[in-house]
Symmetry: C2
Subunit: 372 residues, 2 copies
Amino acid sequence: MKPRPTIQDVARATSLSISTISLVLNNKAHVSEETRRRVKQAIRTLGYHPVRSARGLASKASGNIGFLLADEHFSAVEPFYTRIFLGSEVEARNHNYYILLTTVPTRLRKNESIPRFLHEKNVDGVIVAGKINHKLIEYIGKLGLPIVLVDYALPGKRYSSVLIDNYKGARVATTHLIETGHSKIAFIGGDPDHPSIAERFAGYKETLTRYGMPIDPSLVITDEEDTRIHNGYNAIERLLNRGGKPTALFAANDAMAIGCMNYLKATGIRIPGDMAIVGFDDIGLSSHVEPPLSTVKVFTEEMGKIAIRRIVEMIREKTQHVFTVHLPVELIVRASSASRVPSPSKRKTPISLTRRPRGPAIAEGREKNHGA
Amino acid sequence: MKPRPTIQDVARATSLSISTISLVLNNKAHVSEETRRRVKQAIRTLGYHPVRSARGLASKASGNIGFLLADEHFSAVEPFYTRIFLGSEVEARNHNYYILLTTVPTRLRKNESIPRFLHEKNVDGVIVAGKINHKLIEYIGKLGLPIVLVDYALPGKRYSSVLIDNYKGARVATTHLIETGHSKIAFIGGDPDHPSIAERFAGYKETLTRYGMPIDPSLVITDEEDTRIHNGYNAIERLLNRGGKPTALFAANDAMAIGCMNYLKATGIRIPGDMAIVGFDDIGLSSHVEPPLSTVKVFTEEMGKIAIRRIVEMIREKTQHVFTVHLPVELIVRASSASRVPSPSKRKTPISLTRRPRGPAIAEGREKNHGA
DNA sequence: TTTACCTATCAAAACGTTTCGAGATATGTG
DNA sequence: CACATATCTCGAAACGTTTTGATAGGTAAA
């Protein structure tokens, strides 16, 4: 079996020097069109492909992007972060990068569990999805690697983030419930330390206030440990047992909303007749539960793509701009929140509340640059 | 900022040669304990980490494993292959490998879409999950890279595979339906080209025959294009419209089973009263639909782990053993198949059919070696 | 005509490891 | 005691690129 061709072989075949081949390979200037053509031709006929390790060693760039994910997120039933990852993977390939995904324990132990690739110079930048130990993020920062956080932000604007417009999503969801005739609207939350959850709660409160409605603490649960299905179940059980009497319910995410539905169905409370429900995220499951769950759709793949575009920019330009992108969201009305009283005269049906994405609006999300 | 230490620095610090440091780094023999200790100490105090690219260039091993997944699988609602990947990722880390995941178009176009890492010598082996174009698999084989297929096998035993024991799973599921009093049991399938689906169908038929029951073509659908939710919906609709009158239904996977449930609920057919249902896979969704779906559980993470162990073996030993592993499965009885008639005297409840995994039984799956 | 500055190419020096063969010392054998 | 063998260590040669600085030739400006 013939050994694979090296850049040497291409040089010989074209009677050019190695350097020139390299210039063509990297699309650098100062190469005549004629030469470029000849080199490309030779590369094709020889079936030459540069070896990644060699490039990496010489150029001090690995061609990889690290993707960090808390293990509990990845193993959750809902493939929320998985979809973000998927978007990243596709976009990374477009930019000729590969992704090294690794999960990290939510509670970071010794230095032992720090991903190897950070030390081995095996990634050129890192994407961190979801809530991860601050220490670790700062550690990566100190290593001098570009970082982009997805669906998470540290206080102090020191790291770039791709975020969901949680605030607006919560407002749209709450408004929808109010406009379909509800006045006693519960909020079910969890992991109050997570900025996203806090923002959704804030949006809920702000909307009630704007409509002149009180914020009734007996209708609010925000202290569940995390936001998984069983916590939704527990939360609504506690809320009802202590005497809360909501007619509608806004859950911090779909998983909790579905947990709530499970409890309500088990106790004979009808949805949406006795209780209208709106969730957040639009995970795949939501359209397949009974009744289908109204929710605020998050464009997860898009988040992954944007994160990649940003980190590639940071890597290429070696500039450490800190930016924040907020992705727009979209209310999706399904059966779990069908209107309770006839809608007000002007509006035909609550479904008109749906905010259609405006073409490529996704990529336009409001975006800010802070400092340089 | 200080430049990161290289192997040179460690050599200087210990007054040893670079070669000796390398020997320690790779846990090779012929190094005295004393020396080994000193070197490790120096490495720690200097904070030295070998650079991946340099190792790769010198040793001709990238330290990466490629993970190939058909795009349609990865973007499916159910995170079936995602869980396989998760298992792989964890196990790969244990063996000091990283995984480069990439999706490939189900229908492979030009050479264009062949994953770059195959040519760039950037992976030491490849795991292929699910059904992927034969040509591509063979192409990888020709490149001389070790391959392990997961949940897929090519005819001819030329590639190693980690498989689900579909045949047994289907038999257990069908038996469960028969023993709870059903005699008209439908089979809903899709993508008949996929070996897994074919095996499940075979297990279904075999069981009916064993019980002396006819295989009624009017109760069988196997020609849906793939196995996603909406195909289950379409399939059962077709089956019922053309006059099939089953009292129970075995679907080739949970996604299709759930599609069936959606159709049945929409048309007022009660589950399990009018129709008992059993699926296959035990995806996360299954325990959260109403009623919860009986199914045959597949240990997905475990499959990923086994695949990694095998490919690491192949890489290390450079031997090209072809092997096949069949992972055991487990029947999980939930409300969608509660028994229809009182169970036979001896058996208290159909739940006793559940096959508990026997401790670490997972790793014991029947395993065969073919040739060397 | 000189000066200055482009363009296209090249030779050689990195990049940080692993590996190979050899040397030096210690250990065992007849 | 001589010789073979085993253990430990080392110098030097890969590995296949990118990058840097130099050179030769050409063109435009002074």
